[in-house]
Symmetry: D2
Subunit: 467 residues, 4 copies
């Protein structure tokens, strides 16, 4: 896989390797070998042919640039590869060459190859999600009671628990891991239909060959050919998009909290990380950057899969090819983002002092709702809301703590004075107390999430079939 150099900055080498040219050609050859083996098992081709074909299925022996050039002309990579494979088999066993690719079609081999490499891609995503979830949950535990500003519509809203915020970051990541496994179970299917999906060449033995082949490759045997019915396959891609959306939300929060004027978080620094060519003092949030870049591109990458679904008749013209070409993008973007955020959480610096300072700088305005609710018991909700709105404006314009302004208002109003306990009022302005409700919810949720995290076994779709 050749990507533009700016793409590569956003990608992980591991995931690039999954989808590189040689890996895909190797997977296509795995298909051909498994097809012959399964056909031998079912008596469709001689066992010796299957063995000769398997022996020739070594990707290193093929001239990939030449295959690409011929494939561009043919409109498919399968034709030149099958041709080259046949030549190679024939060199060893002329009879076996008659059985290469028997009963199959270009789409069978290309789709199945993409399924095989995608399984590896899913392994990588699963493993990285495991790591990132572990880190995020660990951080949540440390900060259950840490007060931090909650912000709505990019404005300070109230005080919450930082642990609550972190738990909310973690939950969609665990869900994504579960959802990806579910989608993989549906989508990691063998494609084998022959020219038009009916397995016609193999007569009644077709379904048995398909089952044997699926078993060998460790894939689901499909209920039918899915040449032009891509819903389960695209559904898997959409799960990757959903995951990336959640990563983008996380990256956005990190970047906003790392702003110089906020300073509550910082990505890890270190030699060569996030520097600036012009500004020696800068530490750029490069993990957030990669997460946000992935989230910027992903909606379109997902939309391409949907746009390619209208595949005509028994093999699409243009749309199927567009889907194949676009498919790796989603995994490369998602894994790049996952890796970047995993790096960030490996050394994320949290500054509870700054969190507290940011709360304090607001002169108690973020406790206005709590005050309003307390006063509402005395004078009614609309009246309390209006009064507090007025007092909040006054506090802001006079640059005084809201607590002082409210206390003065209560003391200056006989009606209020009798109904409102000043001591209780004071307690409303305590950030640690204000973080309490969030902390309690977070604790309960964290227990659930940790249990769920621990319960994930290994990724269930093994790369090994019974071949």
């Amino acid at each position: 896989m050749t990507m533009s150099i700016f793409d590569k900055l956003l990608a992980s080498p591991n995931m690039m390797a999954v989808f590189d040219d040689a890996a895909i050609v190797a997977a296509m050859l795995d298909f051909e070998a498994a097809l012959a083996a399964a056909q031998a098992e079912e008596g469709v081709v001689p066992l010796t042919a299957a063995q000769a074909i398997a022996a020739a299925c070594d990707a290193a022996a093929y001239d990939i640039p030449a295959l690409v050039t011929a494939g561009r002309r043919a409109g498919t990579l399968a034709i030149p590869l099958v041709k080259a494979l046949t030549v190679r088999v024939a060199e060893q066993d002329a009879d076996a060459a008659l059985h290469v690719h028997w009963g199959s079609t270009s789409q069978d081999v290309q789709d199945t190859a993409m399924v095989l490499v995608t399984r590896r891609a899913l392994h990588l995503l699963d493993r990285m999600l495991d790591s990132l979830c572990g880190r995020v949950l660990g951080l949540a535990q440390q900060h259950l009671g840490t007060p931090v500003l909650a912000r709505t519509l990019l404005q300070p809203a109230q005080v919450t628990s930082f642990g609550f915020k972190i738990v909310n970051w973690a939950a969609p990541l665990l869900r994504a891991r579960q959802r990806l496994r579910g989608a993989a179970a549906a989508a990691l299917q063998l494609q084998l239909g022959g020219a038009v999906g009916t397995l016609a060449v193999m007569d009644e033995r077709g379904p048995a060959v398909a089952r044997a082949m699926a078993r060998r490759l460790g894939l689901q045997a499909p209920a039918g050919a899915w040449h032009t019915q891509r819903d389960e396959w695209v559904g898997l891609g959409l799960e990757v998009a959903l995951l990336t959306g959640s990563l983008g939300k996380l990256a956005a929060d990190l970047a906003l909290m790392a702003q110089g004027e906020v300073g509550e978080l910082a990505e890890p620094s270190g030699e060569g990380r996030g520097g600036s060519s012009a500004m020696p003092h800068k530490r750029n949030p490069v993990s957030s950057m990669i997460g946000l870049a992935a989230a910027t591109r992903m909606p379109q990458q997902a939309a391409t899969l949907l746009a390619a679904m209208g595949q005509q008749h028994e093999r699409g013209l243009g749309n199927w090819q567009a889907e194949l070409a676009a498919w790796p993008d989603l995994f490369v973007s998602a894994h790049g983002a996952l890796q970047a955020l995993d790096d960030a959480f490996a050394g994320l610096r949290v500054d509870p002092v700054r969190m507290r300072a940011n709360i304090d700088a607001l002169h108690g305005l973020v406790f206005a709702e709590a005050v309003s609710i307390r006063l509402a018991g005395a004078i009614g909700r609309p009246q309390a809301h209006a009064l507090v709105e007025r007092l909040a404006r006054q506090a802001a314009s006079e640059d005084r703590p809201l607590e002082d302004v409210v206390r003065a208002a209560v003391e200056g109003d006989a009606g209020l004075g009798t109904k409102v306990d000043l001591q209780q009022l004071h307690a409303l302005f305590d950030p640690a107390a204000a973080a309490g409700p969030g902390a309690r919810l977070a604790q309960a949720r964290l227990d659930e999430l940790r249990a769920a995290h621990a319960a994930f076994g290994p990724f269930p779709h093994s790369a090994q079939g019974t071949a």
Copy 2:
């Protein structure tokens, strides 16, 4: 819901009604009534207040255009609606007015209202899928053995069974119905978090109120607030997109098979259906048109949901609002397409004679693979492929049946002549026999799909809670 007039041509009145302004305001009021009732149940507010609030939650009493005008200024519809509701409650019970919207925030009411109307939208989709699946499966049964051209890359490929083709149309529709139900189970959740998701105002009683309220509205009680974690919600939208992708594939096939030069299918005609203002002879495929239009728009509609996922901190700025505004589009497009295709299948005209004529017009070329395979047994696959490629070109250029050309070649070649049985060769050119493998697969698959279709019970997410 006001849509442009050209939008309305593609939409169903039923689904437009689900998302119209009054329906959404009514759902917001349902939220407020259920909140108060649940709070009364948990002792947070007096029962009389809950009753007074419920009495005021009649959408017909509110001036919706005025709410929109005020909401545009406020940046949210909830503020003016809650204000108007409070006034109305206060007219009957001043004390009850103190408890309106208690402990809740704008996003709680707007999100939950969207969930409530979306449940109705899903009912409509489910019901229409039931109808369409029934029709498609019925048609498949009728045409299991009907030979029709399979076409790959928009070229005639081989002969298949029309029933096989229809079964492949049906399978993703049944899957979509199942997937939508699963996604609904995850996504039809109450939103209740208060200002920043912690239910802080209601202290320890918050979670119990949420559970009671969810029960009353017939929704899932969420594991946590999902104010800015939209994965499950967007995941539901993506299922609607997937369904529409499958409908687009179906519509594309119908439109292509209905072309004048193909003529294998026709949408139903009838007074006012699919006419032309200029051309009296035309019958336009308006159902396919609507299906294709939905499929053209849907990838972008889905991408908007993904693009809006990066919702900052505890409430997104711009992105949440974009998601809310864009959400109904998916359901309106999908249901318009479903309705249109259901109309088409209600009176789809199938022309088996024309299907056969289209096969015959190809001079047997579509049997070339079968011939090649037969000859491969005699002379090897590459040789057979090359020979048949040459004979096929000859047949085409001389406008002769391939069978004649092949027979001549076999008879003219001593080597071949001894290995190839001309009678068996002749049988390869029989369309009915060629449809056999597809028909057999289709029969088995159809049995499964009919069983699955019959097993769907009523849509499980009842619009009725226990309120």
Copy 3:
């Protein structure tokens, strides 16, 4: 244009009115009247017929919901409208009824109607751009020398002039206004081709009728029918998307500068503007919100136009209809955003004190590049960069002003001490001086932009033809 109530919160009433059902039907009737008039002018139909047709072209006389219902069945709005128009004409003049819609086709009338209402939409955009550009340029003038942090990758970078920043907001708005006018000149064309684009029914008189009709409607006469060649039309839509992209950038900057922890800007407050249902103290940036929402949706709205370009043969199936339905979305989003930002700039509160405080809070770190450059003259660029990077870290970790740390380093190093003038070093830490280069560039650019702003005449595509 699918407009749910949440859509309407983001839209302007003016632009919604441009595209409402009655306006589009009226524009379709304008087409029919102009067609008849132009045909009368060229002797294709009798003048009395044209007059009778014109008399019947009063949108108020038509039952729009009934037209929609019939149009949904017909697959086009034109058929039922032309039918109803014919009936109405016939009531007054049976002979004239023979000439209704003569030589035209559904697409002619629907496309031209969309062109006519789009011209009005462009007027609204142009006028609002005029207002917004005026406000932005005025603000730039006031703040040419105001120091403000420049921020790169969401980190404080250096000090710039706020006027420089504002001028950079303004430039793309002026360019968009110019580009929209250019695109309008290409795209505001009559559509008139008859059934398949050849004007066949009107023989040699077709082109003359088209010219006369274009003149009457104030549109360009097209070089040819553009039934399925949509590049110029879609090109206009893409300009609206580009404008919205620039508005999104502006809205993002506003929202970030209005964050509580930054506090450099605030949107205007005022009764009912940007409040919170839960939090009395909040002032939400609702204009930025609308701008960001538009920018979130616009890429997809533009992509739909591109996705619909593959219109088959002489009239597209599904894609043309999708384009028509989606077209108004772009204008409604863009104008909503423009209106919102115009509201914001009408009362934008700028806080130069806070801007200065944000600079000061960074302990001089943002002057690190300047220091590095000064030192580079003494010790070489890489050495200086490394030294300043180290000193910057030291300043940050010791919470000391960078100036002190640098001065100590210079004084403590004999080599440096002789090469670096401490007085000059001190001057590098003056924010007002640091704003100088930006201010100078901004002044020159502002002069150009003000001249360009003043030079815009009225929007050149008059809504009035010569009819």
Copy 4:
């Protein structure tokens, strides 16, 4: 640009080379050399330094994979490249090393490098458009009078001239070529702003350096830094998208006309072109396939550019990086499609006999509008439309030529018989005559387009500056 092996099948080697890693690194080094040279010209750095820097700017000397690895960590490619360049310069001239990258920032060099390689990409597009337009216009000349079915909504509509259809394919290609040149003039700008766009490091000499540097690189000197104002740049990308949309329309028409049942066109065949691994008789339309694949992906590729426009403050986080990474995709897709269609038109096979046969097979139904119009003169338009609609249905159901049915109806109706000349009626059914109006329009339009085609000079944005 993420290029999997399936991507490469859709791309041209030429365009892949334009954007490959070495080309981008070389362009970055061109920037650095030109910066130093311009600074020497303006007295900002010594001439010897500029010479030493230029000598080190040889891309072959750099370890690109190592740069990528370091760049991933740094978040930008510029930092490791500038570092490596500085080391290399220092090896030859320690003093010169002090002046490397002076006054510039990462974004300056990355953006300008992308501009430089994009200019080459535009050259390739322009040249290929020249070739394709020449072929298409040549074909139009040959087929001005060839009758072919016009088809609307994928149904046969009327007879038109094939030349008319071809001319309509050509027009948007010529427009695209012109539009791309215009967009290039606006977008091929130097990026040079220094850390935050103010050129602060170079004081008053900054603008002069920028002008000199722009001249050396053959680029426009920008009116200001466009670090985060991307409208003109994205505008260029959108023109590439528009072009691809028009290519998609052309590819769709080719593919539809090449269907086996239509057979009016065929892509060139030839060794290895468009074969099938399973079906020896097939000739797949691989050029159309590539054009359609590009058009499937392009809306999303364009949307990504728009989605990345909200670049915060003075340098975007995530969005700018996403834009850089996505940018090459558009050019690679578009050029792959152009190349493919140019190949197709180089050997397109047109079958006028089949075109005529397809007309004839419709029993004259496509002349129904002409008949209706002729009868309308006698009995009124609605009556004629209804009568012909009825007769068309009769002809279709009885499988008789419409002409016979109409003649019988006229003869059997005394009223009609006197008003309708049967000889004139007969002439309406002549395909050659029916092609006349289209042929006349096409001839005039073709003359204009050929003149426009001939008037294009060489691509005006030379790759050579005055350096």
